[in-house]
């Protein structure tokens, strides 16, 4: 009896310690974001940012566009079979565009971004930490938060919204290919129904806000995991996995919250 009680107490202590650790890590991550995101942009910083834009943006373009195309095509195909039962296949354009703009493009692009660019950022910064590059930079008198982290952070902030736009455009075009070219929905009604129902501010704008939020969260997680990891090869591989898992969960969870606020009438 006594020992059972003791065991329970230990469990509670352990839970408490886990909670404290988690809060501490969150605090560290917050300070980290604050310290690295604020910096005076210099010519050198611009050049570094450009390099990272290439790395996280341009190199992620292919996977994002191809996925967007397929998702648009699938949406049109699935939507058509449902809408045709109601004689409403004219609304296909509306359905494809709204699903993409409000939901699928921000979320799927963010998930792909976490897998493609996020994990690479974690691994890269982690490797720099493990090989003492960050320490030696500090010893040279250069702040690695400014030099290494900040350009990556800002590149991520800018790149993901652009990728999301690309995803939407290609997806809508994919829906057009399947719906109009293949299934024979009237081209005029594909576009006009879309235009009548899509609002630039409410649909495109809110989708962009979502993707901006996701960009901040995913890049932040990726860069922080890289900076904060245990500098061994095992630590790097664990941190890379954590980046993908945490950012996927964060994206999906935040998506619900944002959707509730934006479209749920809260």
């Amino acid at each position: 009896m006594q020992s059972k009680f003791k065991q329970g107490a230990t469990q509670i202590t352990r839970l408490g310690r886990k909670g404290c650790d988690a809060m501490e890590a969150l605090g560290r991550a917050g300070v980290f974001l604050g310290q690295s995101a604020v910096g005076i942009p210099s010519r050198e910083g611009w050049r570094l940012w450009l390099r990272q834009m290439h790395f996280v943006g341009v190199l992620s373009l292919a996977i994002v566009l191809v996925s967007g195309l397929f998702i648009g095509m699938v949406l049109a195909l699935q939507g058509y079979t449902i809408l045709v039962d109601f004689g409403a296949e004219q609304a296909l354009g509306q359905m494809v565009a709204l699903s993409l703009l409000r939901e699928l493009a921000p979320v799927v692009a963010a998930l792909l971004f976490a897998g493609r660019a996020g994990s690479a950022l974690t691994a890269e910064i982690g490797l720099m930490k493990a090989t003492e590059q960050l320490t030696s930079m500090e010893m040279i008198g250069v702040d690695p938060l400014r030099r290494v982290v900040a350009p990556r952070l800002w590149a991520g902030f800018v790149a993901l919204p652009i990728l999301t736009v690309g995803f939407s455009v290609v997806g809508i075009w994919g829906g057009y290919l399947v719906g109009v070219e293949w299934l024979g929905v009237f081209e005029g009604s594909y576009w006009s129904n879309m235009q009548a129902s899509v609002s630039f501010i409410n649909d495109v704008g809110n989708g962009m806000i979502k993707s901006l939020v996701f960009a901040v969260v995913v890049t932040w997680i990726a860069v922080f995991q890289g900076y904060d990891l245990v500098p061994t090869s095992e630590g790097i591989s664990r941190a890379t996995t954590r980046t993908v898992v945490y950012s996927s969960l964060a994206v999906l969870g935040l998506d619900f919250v944002l959707t509730a606020v934006m479209f749920g009438g809260l």
Partner: protein, 273 residues
């Protein structure tokens, strides 16, 4: 001989009553050291005694639990971030792994400190970098990336980078570890020559006895979180303290036991019967 009385030299680094622990594990318990200006001072000790940690404490990357570190009269751990970075411009550090920036080539690695801390025109940076690379014998390798260098070459490039800003102090973290005899010889010679040519204060952390003894003017031996002996190479060689003589002469068993603590072998084998 002047070399035999380092305490009369001007101290450049003073470490006073330094305590540091990592988690439950005490690493330093009251370390006192004086490192004279313009000399090569070696800090030696068995693996795991926190020699690298000591360098990080000197460089201000770690903060001690107690005690203080003075560099040229400035207390490292009470400096503002900006002042600390300014102080670091006056020191160079050679890391165990070289720690070259993997996204820059050899030339840009050496040019890095110059580009960040000076406004020199490109042509002058080029001349300076080639001068430093020439000094370590790698002027021809300037276009290579760090991945294409051997371990010894990487360390020499890192050395060129560490002295790029002509620092007053240079910290060497295990410069001889994992080097073949040739590159070891090259590094020993380079450290000696740089120290003489640039009037540097050098701190070498190492456990390679022979090489370190050949370049050091003064030695500190640390074990169990404290300085157990210090003196010139000659005095340490004849020191009677068993901890010192075990380390200096490389005896396999002694105060640092060969066996990891365990219950008696006899009982471990037969005890479960």
């Amino acid at each position: 001989m002047k070399v035999n009385q380092p305490m009369t030299d001007v101290p450049f680094i003073e470490i006073e009553d330094l305590y540091f622990s990592r988690g439950e594990h005490d690493i330093f318990r009251g370390v006192n050291m004086t490192i004279p200006q313009g000399k090569v001072t070696a800090i030696m000790g068995p693996s795991g005694t926190g020699k690298t940690t000591l360098l990080k404490l000197i460089g201000g990357q770690l903060t001690p639990d107690r005690g203080r570190v003075l560099i040229d009269g400035q207390e490292v751990h009470s400096l503002s971030r900006k002042a600390l970075f300014a102080l670091r411009k006056r020191m160079g550090m050679l890391f165990q792994s070289g720690a070259l920036f993997s996204d820059l080539d050899v030339f840009e690695n050496v040019a890095f400190p110059l580009r960040v801390h000076t406004d020199l025109p490109d042509a002058m940076i080029r001349d300076l970098v080639l001068l430093k690379l020439q000094a370590v014998g790698l002027r021809g390798a300037r276009k290579l990336t760090p991945a294409e260098l051997s371990g010894g070459m990487a360390r020499r490039v890192a050395l060129a980078r560490a002295v790029a800003l002509d620092p007053e102090l240079i910290l060497y973290d295990e410069p001889f570890v994992g080097q073949d005899p040739i590159s070891m010889g090259v590094l020993v010679q380079l450290i000696k020559r740089l120290n003489q040519a640039l009037q540097l204060t050098s701190v070498v952390v190492s456990h390679d006895i022979k090489e370190t003894l050949s370049i050091a003017d003064y030695l500190y031996l640390i074990a169990d979180g404290q300085v157990v002996a210090h003196g010139t190479p000659q005095t340490l060689d004849t020191n009677q303290d068993p901890r010192v003589s075990q380390f200096v002469h490389g005896e396999p068993d002694g105060p640092v036991p060969f066996h990891y603590p365990a219950e008696s072998f006899y009982r471990d084998i037969l005890g479960h019967a």
